[in-house]
């Protein structure tokens, strides 16, 4: 059976952001760290937004964090998302500090809560591109 075409907007990685998306393909959450001021950085940049250093390095983060805030989208703007409503759009705060926009999956929308512990869930939306989503962290993984 032929795979259905993915119709939602896709990231278009560039030289700066490609290591991040190569990371999600490999099921790793990669962040940048400034070698001068030590701050963790997301989204990927060519300079550190805290000290303007150009000396940034990639590292693999824990993939764990908490729901900083969330909403349930009940009407999609982009038609390709209409089949998914209601779905959860969230900001997750990573254990390493940075926050990012994502979806919370693997749980009913009405069970999502602010501060809920989550872990990375990788969604291979096309053969080339894997989106970084998050799912609830199970009890035994929390410490």
């Amino acid at each position: 059976m032929a795979e259905e075409e993915y119709r939602k907007p896709l990231p278009e990685p560039n030289d700066t952001t490609r290591p991040f998306w190569e990371g999600t393909r490999a099921r790793q959450l990669r962040l940048q760290r400034c070698r001068d001021c030590g701050k963790h950085i997301f989204y990927p940049r060519v300079i550190c937004p805290f000290c303007l250093s150009e000396h940034l390095e990639w590292f693999t983060a824990s993939g764990k964090g908490k729901v900083y805030s969330y909403t349930v989208v009940r009407r999609a703007v982009h038609p390709a998302f209409q089949e998914d409503v209601p779905y959860v759009l969230a900001i997750v705060e990573l254990d390493e500090g940075p926050r990012l926009t994502t979806n919370i999956v693997g749980v009913a929308p009405e069970e999502v809560r602010v501060d809920m512990p989550v872990r990375a869930a990788y969604d291979d939306v096309t053969p080339d591109l894997t989106l970084l989503k998050f799912e609830p962290l199970l009890g035994q993984e929390m410490n």
Binding site: P13, S69, T71, P79, L89, T101, L131
Partner: protein
């Protein structure tokens, strides 16, 4: 140097918002409101020597100031596009005053307009494929425009401070009461109750349909002039007393505490320039794309302590006849949200109230107004204090 009393608004022009363009174009709308504002100020096109334009959201084009200047017969010595979203109109007021204070011009025409409707606004257009971070790191996850951003703020505010949907609904209801006293409001004849708001469909949790602005057609303009020009004004000049602006992010994920906006910086600075405090303010006219926007603004501007916005709006009557008159034209929620002209409606309403020309909804002894413009996801803020 201060901008306090460096310039005054002496004329306004505005259209009653409509649900659809009804054959009008953006250029046509801008021309209509620009003409009204110039007539109101007693000025002709050759008297105007500055032109500021808010970029129409559904009609982005290069060199809008040249297009409109040529059309109106205005030859500006100072022109610009002010592109800070819903903060653009408030941002224009102090930019115009600064250019006047610098001696570059004497009368700046500020114009914002939009020929749009719900369908046009939400239909993805053949836009350029922007190579920008939000396109790569936000759009693929299906945000509902900026609706979802404000929903995230509201959800976090509820978590941190215990704010309730019923408290947020009170804001929409009081503003609708105001709109029902304003024949020029889109929802003039449609009163609502708190239960109406809470029973309207949840669109993007925790925000209900009646807590969200409806894109529509309309426009607004105003003229900012030098003290010398203001002395010859046919109407009482409305003076700029304080102004401040601050922007902190584009994507909400990159903001700090999302329940506190840059207004916490701009409002105190604008009030300080004017030499007044929130308790001196007779009229509050602040950007209200969503109910939560108003709540956060009241807190950050110092009308109540941080986190107390919910109880505060329950304890105060925000209507034109209440103890804290807020968005007396109905606000964007009930007057209308015609693109960037929605933000301009707070400037025009403050001018009307301060000039005593609002009829049934006139606030008694209105001498001092606090205005706030808000762009993006509470990203960019411009606060103004205007007075007689």
């Amino acid at each position: 140097m201060t901008l306090k009393r460096a310039a005054a608004i002496t004329g306004i022009g505005e259209l009653k918002p409509t649900r659809t363009p009804d054959g009008k174009t953006t250029l046509g709308i801008m021309t209509e409101v620009a003409r009204l504002a110039m007539l109101d100020a007693g000025l002709g096109p050759t008297d105007v020597d500055g032109l500021l334009i808010g970029p129409p959201i559904t009609d982005m084009a290069p060199m809008w100031p040249s297009v409109l200047g040529e059309y109106l017969g205005v030859h500006p010595r100072y022109s610009n596009v002010v592109d800070i979203g819903g903060a653009s109109a408030a941002g224009m007021v102090w930019r115009a005053a600064a250019a006047i204070a610098a001696g570059q011009c004497r009368a700046v025409l500020c114009v914002l307009g939009e020929a749009s409707d719900v369908e046009t606004f939400y239909t993805p257009r053949g836009r350029r494929r922007y190579q920008l971070p939000y396109r790569e790191f936000e759009v693929p996850y299906g945000p509902m425009g900026v609706n979802s951003g404000y929903a995230l703020i509201a959800q976090r505010h509820m978590f941190q401070y215990g704010t309730t949907s019923r408290q947020l609904a009170k804001i929409a209801v009081d503003q609708r009461t105001n709109a029902c006293a304003n024949p020029d409001a889109l929802f003039f004849d449609r009163p609502i109750t708190i239960d109406d708001v809470l029973n309207s469909p949840l669109v993007v949790d925790p925000l209900h349909l009646l807590e969200i602005v409806m894109p529509c057609t309309g426009g607004a303009a105003f003229v900012v002039v030098s003290p010398e020009v203001a002395r010859r004004s046919p109407r009482p000049p409305v003076w700029l007393l304080g102004a401040a602006e601050y922007a902190t992010h584009m994507m909400l994920s990159q903001a700090g505490d999302i329940t506190t906006s840059p207004i916490a910086v701009t409002a105190p600075r604008a009030l300080q320039m004017a030499g007044v405090s929130p308790k001196d303010v007779d009229l509050v006219s602040v950007y209200d794309c969503y109910t939560i926007t108003v709540l956060v603004t009241l807190e950050d501007a110092g009308f109540c302590p941080k986190g107390r916005g919910g109880p505060f709006v329950e304890e105060h009557d925000l209507s034109y006849r209440g103890d804290l008159p807020l968005n007396t034209h109905g606000g964007q929620l009930s007057f209308g949200q015609p693109g960037l002209a929605g933000g301009a409606s707070h400037v025009t309403e403050a001018v009307r109230q301060l000039q005593g020309r609002t009829g049934d909804r006139q606030v008694s002894h209105c001498e001092l107004a606090f205005i706030n413009g808000n762009g993006g996801v509470m990203s960019e803020q411009a606060s103004l204090v205007l007075g007689r």
